[in-house]
């Protein structure tokens, strides 16, 4: 999500910052178009105020409203991001409901044909005080998160009002809000629109109402949109959100009338990220100028020590000396070349890296929980790297893998077990892995190939870990690769915040995280292969034992104790093929025929798996089951799938998990052919996407 103010200031900073662009932009422009000479008077005559609606219409691609399909997603995303931010900041485990409805335009239409939708997002967050509501929802650039450096999803104070504006422009309908700050307070209902000339809210309706919820906020937008499943859809975004945010209880009512539920499987809030001051290495020149203007300090040295992290008063004095400015100078007076020198000096001074404890990673356990819940695989792993710093910005990289098919699914292709004729072979599995990317827990669905995370996945040698991989391609196999970057300032390649820029430090951290995941996967694959080959061996023996026993019995005139002989031979067979250990690996102790337990979850703490965690996920999924409805594939409701858990988990109950059926559409979605959507969308991308930009 790019914001107008930021891009404006960045353009400024670029033109004046020698590092970024030594040539003033004006000269460049003039040089580029010498034929178009305009006098200052003419130009002056053209100057006028740009209305927000005009700005919005021209820049809607920067805000994520390039096309109706993406616009629908952006509306959902802005509202959900806000809901989660608000809940987390208030220390509330989020319960969020997303409802998409078709708004019929005369004749009722199928969701895939509809052009107008009602988006309703309800949370159980802290609510919003009455007076703030109009400005939050009907004034661009109004928010609580902009003036601070703290890890959060939203940042600019434009997200939800932009969505409201989009709705207003495309349907003419106001934004409807219900909010309540506690059981003792009243619930307020608002209908607001933006005065597009003044960027001020117009309140159409404001009343107290009865609301069943004791606390929280509900936003309803009516927008033009297009609903289409698959890659980069609302469905996919919500699924991926649920993977990275297993502490959220998410209910999604699709336009088709289904209810998809993503239960809370992780019952702790992520630790509160801490606010930090900017580090001198992390700011751009324009930012410094702005900070000089905004500071409360009256002296330059005081400003440096107070407004930046890792700058001591003593160091502030040294910096001033090196920059040949008086430490007592008024910050507001620093301009032009002096400010430039100060900026350079700041970049050249040795300053300790910023504190890193301000970042709140998802955590290995939560990632495992999210992956396990949403993706049916055999093997899961997650890695959280220790904090690192790029350009003065602390960040944490996290990676995870979900690999393989559950034994039930593995058997499916084997079922039509017709003997193969000569020249007939098993179909080669050409499936490629999928990458799911996150920045501060928000899924990134566009511009995959421009993203640092994706590049790191491609440059990892997955062959070392027992996977196939063709040159410059994703590794093969049923696998989801999860990569998350958490930072106070995620460097995006463009304002549309769709791909993470390539900083060496970031790339390195992602690579290290992926390698560790890969190493564990390799261990798992090798172990599984060993077990499988033992299994094949034993299978051969078991197949022949019957024949041998029968033939021996006939040879002995039918007088053999057949069962006894069979048992004896089977015992020898099993002892020759790894005995009980193989039994266990093969899951003879309760899993499907191919033998692997439903999942082996590996973390740094232990390779035998987070069985307790898995049990928790299943239990949560089971409790959410009663309201389960048919999934999008039209399968029969709650197709029972036995999800027998490892006995070690304490609960050896044979639990039926109707959520197994639920999880299925998501898995299919995750494994869908990659890139198709991406390619289709690329032409719509803004062309100036070269320089890394951040949220701030």
């Amino acid at each position: 999500m790019a914001k107008k103010k930021e891009s404006a200031s960045e353009t400024e900073s670029k033109s004046s910052a020698p590092r970024a662009n030594p040539e003033p932009a004006a000269t460049k422009k003039a040089a580029a178009k010498p034929a178009e000479r305009v006098t200052a008077v003419e130009m002056g005559a053209r100057q006028r105020e740009i209305s927000v609606s005009e700005f919005f219409t021209k820049n809607r691609h920067l805000l994520g409203f390039d096309n109706p399909r993406k616009a629908l997603l952006t509306c959902v995303k802005e509202a959900v991001d806000n809901a989660l931010d608000a809940c987390e900041e208030a220390g509330i485990l989020p319960d969020v409901t997303v409802r998409l409805e078709v708004v019929p335009n005369g004749e009722p239409v199928a969701p895939s044909q509809a052009t107008r939708f009602r988006v309703t997002v309800t949370d159980n967050g802290p609510g919003i005080v009455r007076q703030q509501i109009p400005r939050i929802f009907a004034k661009l650039l109004y928010g609580s998160k902009f003036h601070r450096l703290r890890m959060s999803r939203g940042q600019q104070g434009i997200g939800i009002s932009a969505a409201g504006m989009y709705g207003q422009l495309t349907t003419g309908k106001p934004v409807k809000i219900i909010s309540r700050i506690g059981p003792k307070a009243a619930a307020h209902f608002f209908e607001v629109q933006i005065d597009t000339k003044k960027n001020e809210p117009l309140v159409h309706e404001n009343k107290q109402i009865d609301w069943e919820q004791p606390r929280g906020t509900r936003v309803t937008l009516e927008v033009e949109g297009k609903y289409q499943k698959g890659r980069a859809s609302v469905d996919e975004w919500l699924e991926q959100t649920s993977i990275a945010n297993p502490h959220v209880e998410l209910i999604y009512q699709t336009p088709e009338g289904e209810t998809k539920e993503y239960p809370r499987t992780y019952h702790e809030l992520p630790p509160q990220p801490r606010e930090i001051k900017p580090h001198p290495y992390g700011i751009e020149f324009g930012m410094l100028l702005k900070m000089l203007q905004d500071t409360k300090s009256h002296q330059l040295s005081g400003f440096l020590a107070a407004d930046f992290c890792r700058v001591s008063p003593q160091m502030a004095d040294e910096i001033c000396k090196a920059a040949k400015v008086s430490p007592d100078a008024k910050p507001r007076d620093l301009k032009g070349p002096v400010a430039e020198t100060l900026y350079k000096t700041l970049q050249e001074t040795k300053i300790m890296a910023p504190p890193t404890n301000c970042i709140s990673p998802i955590g290995e356990k939560a990632i495992l929980s999210g992956l396990y819940k949403q993706i049916k695989g055999e093997f899961y792993t997650a890695v959280s790297r220790p904090p690192a710093v790029y350009r003065g910005n602390p960040f944490i990289i996290e990676a995870g893998l979900a690999y393989g098919n559950r034994p039930q699914d593995q058997n499916k292709p084997q079922q039509p077990a017709m003997p193969k004729a000569e020249g007939e072979y098993e179909e080669e599995d050409s499936e490629l892995a999928r990458v799911i990317r996150y920045a501060n827990r928000v899924p990134l669905l566009y511009q995959q190939s421009a993203c640092s995370t994706f590049k790191a996945v491609l440059s990892t040698t997955w062959k070392n870990y027992g996977l196939t991989q063709s040159r410059g391609a994703l590794p093969g196999g049923p696998m989801v690769i999860f990569v998350h970057m958490a930072s106070v300032w995620v460097p995006f390649t463009s304002e549309s915040k769709e791909a993470i820029a390539d900083y060496d430090e970031i790339q390195k951290e992602i690579t290290l995280a992926l390698r560790e995941c890969g190493r564990r996967l390799g261990l798992f694959i090798r172990r599984r292969e060993r077990a499988a080959s033992e299994y094949r061996r034993r299978n051969i023996f078991e197949l022949y034992i019957e024949e041998v026993v029968d033939a021996c019995n006939r040879l002995k005139g039918g007088k053999l104790p057949k069962e006894k002989l069979k048992e004896q031979l089977q015992k020898i067979a099993s002892s020759r093929t790894g005995g009980a250990k193989t039994d266990e690996t093969l899951g003879k102790t309760g899993a499907g025929p191919e033998g692997l337990p439903h999942s082996i979850i590996v973390t740094a703490e232990g390779v035998e798996g987070e069985t307790a965690l898995a049990t928790q996920v299943e239990a949560d999924q089971a409790t959410m089951a009663p309201t389960a409805e048919p999934d999008s594939l039209g399968d029969t409701p709650s197709v029972d799938e036995p999800v027998s858990k490892e006995k070690t988990a304490g609960e050896s109950r044979e639990k039926k998990s109707p959520k197994g059926a639920k999880a299925k559409p998501s898995q299919i979605a995750l494994f869908e052919a990659p890139d198709r959507q991406d390619r289709r969308d690329r032409p719509n991308k803004p062309t100036r996407v070269s320089k890394p930009r951040g949220k701030k």
Binding site: A417, P419, R537, I540, F541, L543, Y544, E546, E547, V548, A551, C552, N553, R554, L555, K556, L560, L565, Q568, L569, K571, I572, A573, S575, R576
Partner: protein
Amino acid sequence: MATKQKQATAVEKKLIGLADIVVQSAERSKDPTFQIPIRALSNVSFNERKGLIEMGSKKQERSFFNVGMAKKFMQTVLVADALSELQRADLTTSLREIYYRTKHTIKDSHENTFDTQDESDPVIEDLEVSLAALREELHVRAENSGSIVGPVVFGDDGDRVDCSKLGKGGYSVPSIVEPEYLEIRRCTADFVLLVEKGTQWNRLSEDKFWRRYNCILLTGNGQPPRGVRRLARRLHEEHRLPVYVLVDNDPWGYYIYSVIKQGSINLAFESQRMAIPKAKFMGLSSADPEQYELPRNVGIKLNEKDIARAKELMNYQWFQKPAWQAEIKRMLTSGLKYELDALANKDFQYLTKKYLPKKLQERDWLD
């Protein structure tokens, strides 16, 4: 037949012994294992005194719980079962029928016990050697693929078969020719001529060569089957007839001769009763083309396989006689091989009228 009954029981006992191995091993939690004598060059030796190839004592183990051997093991037990069934029913059968008898799909799978006869035939040979039972004793017969004509009278199932009165087709040699199945009632011949190829045997039979030279004409249509070899041996042993061998002049011809004379590597254990150490090699010799002025253009260029095989033969102990080394070397030097049929280049009846008479008269053969 009392004797037959007794023998069958002995073989059957041996077959049941295999089941006992399985049961006893299982009892002791041991991997059931059969010891099978190795049927390969590495496990045969040439007994110079007897002029026979004899099997050594090297054995290979065939274990059930070994991935590479499990199927073979299972197949061995299945074939043993089928063979013991034959014993009980006192029937004889063919290799092919054993294959069909033991072939089925394994329960709960799509795997067949045997996929082709190539899998069951060696198992039968394995059992022959391991149990030291002759194929006849196992009641397995080969296809009848030999013919005999000449002044000899057999009793076959009580029928009198006079081989001098069977026209040019002769009598089809059964695969089991042990005295209890085939009786040699009368034999007035002077020698046996064993011809590799049916075509040349036909020529000689048609020309009534046997009548002029008072001999028995025998052929096995290529590598002679056991019945033919055993019958030649019996005529040689019981009626003191010399045996002459007539084959193509190529490495395979030499080897056929050597199998008749010393026995085969594969079934060395049967040499004792099959081999005819005194058999002579009548031709075609690599010296014959010159001797009989066969033009070079009826020769065939030796291919790589021929050359390799010829060199292999030269290393066999039983081909070490100087005359034989010279014989093979001569072929290699000429680079050509000749078929018996090539003699027709001179005259259709050249074999009957010129070649053999000259050979016999000059006693021109190799030992």
